[in-house]
Amino acid sequence: MKITIENLSFSYLGGPMICRDISFSIEPGHVIAILGPNGAGKTTLLNCIANLQLPTSGRVCIDKKDMRQIPPKEVAQAIGFVPQLIVPTFAYSVIDYVVTGCAPRLGMFQRPKQEHYEIAANALELIGISHLAQKYYNEISGGERQQASIARAIAQQPAIILMDEPTAHLDYGNQIRVLQIIQSMAQNGYGVVFTTHNPDHALSLDAAVAVMGKNCDFHYSKTNAILNKGFLRGLYGVELHVCNIPEVDRDVCIPPRI
């Protein structure tokens, strides 16, 4: 399964261009981090790939087939989406929440059966939160909710998983935990695309980066070669250093002493 984004542009009716002429592809086993300042259109791009918003021009293809010609249910079988954290109005148990990931494979009037609950339980186990299965989704912590949300996307059994700011509103430990989950998902063959405000997340995962700058500048780079001091200053408007730390054997992105 391969998803290609071809010359995608998006603007709201009568509004300014948000994404312009974006092209790249998503493959299983690879991680792509979408970087960019506030309002650059990261979420919009992710929504277009997730079939939640229609591009103004250009297209998104699943295995060379235009997504608009594929029924939404089939798209949902190929692409899982982890939206920004929600707190549902009603108290559902975590397992009841995760099992909704099976919806794309169920008919309109069908309900999840034993096998679907097993898929959901396996997804919880993969993320390492089986102990939360019977807890209420709106009573667990933000980090646990994010993990449950990812588990739901896994229960969807897609090839590609999109995550909208999966580390937002999480404490530092939970942020790293989510990055570890992303890494192990890529190793398990999922293609993962996520938006983040922290360029170091991209560096720590050795991910490809899709950068959305001001004025609809778009850069896609297979390696992190593009993330250097000058580029990051242009992107965020502040001084940032990228340097190699031998102890952790990788490049890190940090601000200087403030």
Partner: protein, 338 residues
């Protein structure tokens, strides 16, 4: 999970047993009281199993009480289930059929039909279409305002209800002092005293099809209650599902209202009670809520006709019982109300 399932089945069996027992009791009590054996004997004679003894008893039972007991249970179940569906679809535990204006709309429709001197079937149709129209208006207002928050929806409901109630006021003003006026007022306070067997026949198809459809779609209500983005990312056609559920729930409410008039509270509190007993999962809480609604309405209607020599209008009783009941429920779950 196995434990959940058995306790759910136990709950359903308990409620069903209470409902059957309650219905039996309701058939017995009243100004012409009979004992359960008389009731069974009379039913047996209708089915040709034995010969009956008492003509009057049979008339009271088959012309008055059985239609009334069935109507109470159906109306209760319909209002409760549609309340639960509204709350789930709109992700707002404060929404009830009244809040979205379907009841007020149906009131205007029924009053119009009464003023025009139309029959029961037309009155039902008027109540239904005006009810649906009112809900459409309520749902459209937040869209026009480009703010689809829950609060905006509740406010939109207030607008539509206020408007519909004023229209109803105008109609009552026009009808002042006529027979139609008292018919409208009586209808508005809610009663199933004058229910006929034909009314039951008229609404039971809608009741059966509507409730069965909603039970079949109940798992999808869970997904819708997580929000539009989540539902769409799971490949669901949100406008069609949401629209369909609203239409079915409004159809149920409008049909209930068309035979019973306005009966408040039940569509708001029964879903809460259902959620308290069976959890939030709509596949479980919806059937539980239906049974609870039927049981509650049966109790209230039986009290309305048997407690005093006068018929107490249903809305008065549901309010007297419902409001403190709701307060008690909120007290019980005060920690989880946000």
């Amino acid at each position: 999970m196995m434990k959940n399932k058995t306790s759910f089945i136990r709950l359903i069996i308990l409620l069903a047993a209470l409902l059957v027992g309650g219905a039996m009791l309701a058939l017995c009590v009243g100004r012409y009281s009979m004992n359960p054996f008389d009731v069974l004997r009379a039913i047996g004679s209708r089915l040709g199993l034995n010969t009956s003894t008492d003509e009057t008893m049979e008339t009271v039972l088959f012309v008055i009480r059985i239609p009334r007991v069935f109507a109470a249970m159906m109306v209760g179940a319909m209002l409760s289930v549609s309340g639960a569906v509204y709350q789930g679809v709109f992700r707002n535990p404060l929404v009830s059929p009244e809040f979205l204006g379907v009841t007020s709309g149906a009131c205007v429709g029924a009053a119009l039909a009464i003023l025009l001197g139309l029959g029961v079937l037309q009155r039902q149709l008027f109540a239904f279409f005006f009810g649906i129209g009112a809900v459409c208006l309520t749902v459209m207002i937040p869209r026009v305002m480009r703010n689809t928050s829950n609060l905006m929806l509740v406010l939109a409901g207030m607008i539509v209800r206020g408007f519909m109630d004023s229209v109803l006021g105008v109609m009552k003003f026009i009808a002042e002092g006529t027979v139609e006026m008292s018919a409208i007022v009586f209808w508005q306070m809610g009663s199933i005293a004058s229910i006929k067997g034909t009314d039951i026949v008229a609404i039971s198809p809608i009741f059966l099809i509507g409730v069965v459809l909603l039970l079949c779609l109940s798992w999808r209500i869970n997904i819708l209650s997580f929000g539009e983005v989540e539902a769409r990312s799971l490949g669901m056609n949100v406008p069609i599902f949401r629209g369909g559920l609203i239409v079915i729930a409004s159809l149920l409410t409008a049909s209930a209202v068309s035979i019973s008039g306005t009966i408040g509270w039940i569509g708001l509190i029964m879903p809460h009670l259902g959620r308290m007993l069976a959890g939030s999962d709509h596949t479980k809480m919806l059937p539980v809520t239906a049974l609870l609604g039927a049981l509650f309405m049966l109790v209230v209607d039986t009290a309305a006709r048997a407690a005093t020599s006068l018929e107490i209008p249903l809305s008065i009783l549901t309010g007297l019982l419902g409001a403190p009941f709701f307060a008690w429920m909120l007290f019980r779950q005060k920690a989880s109300v946000r």
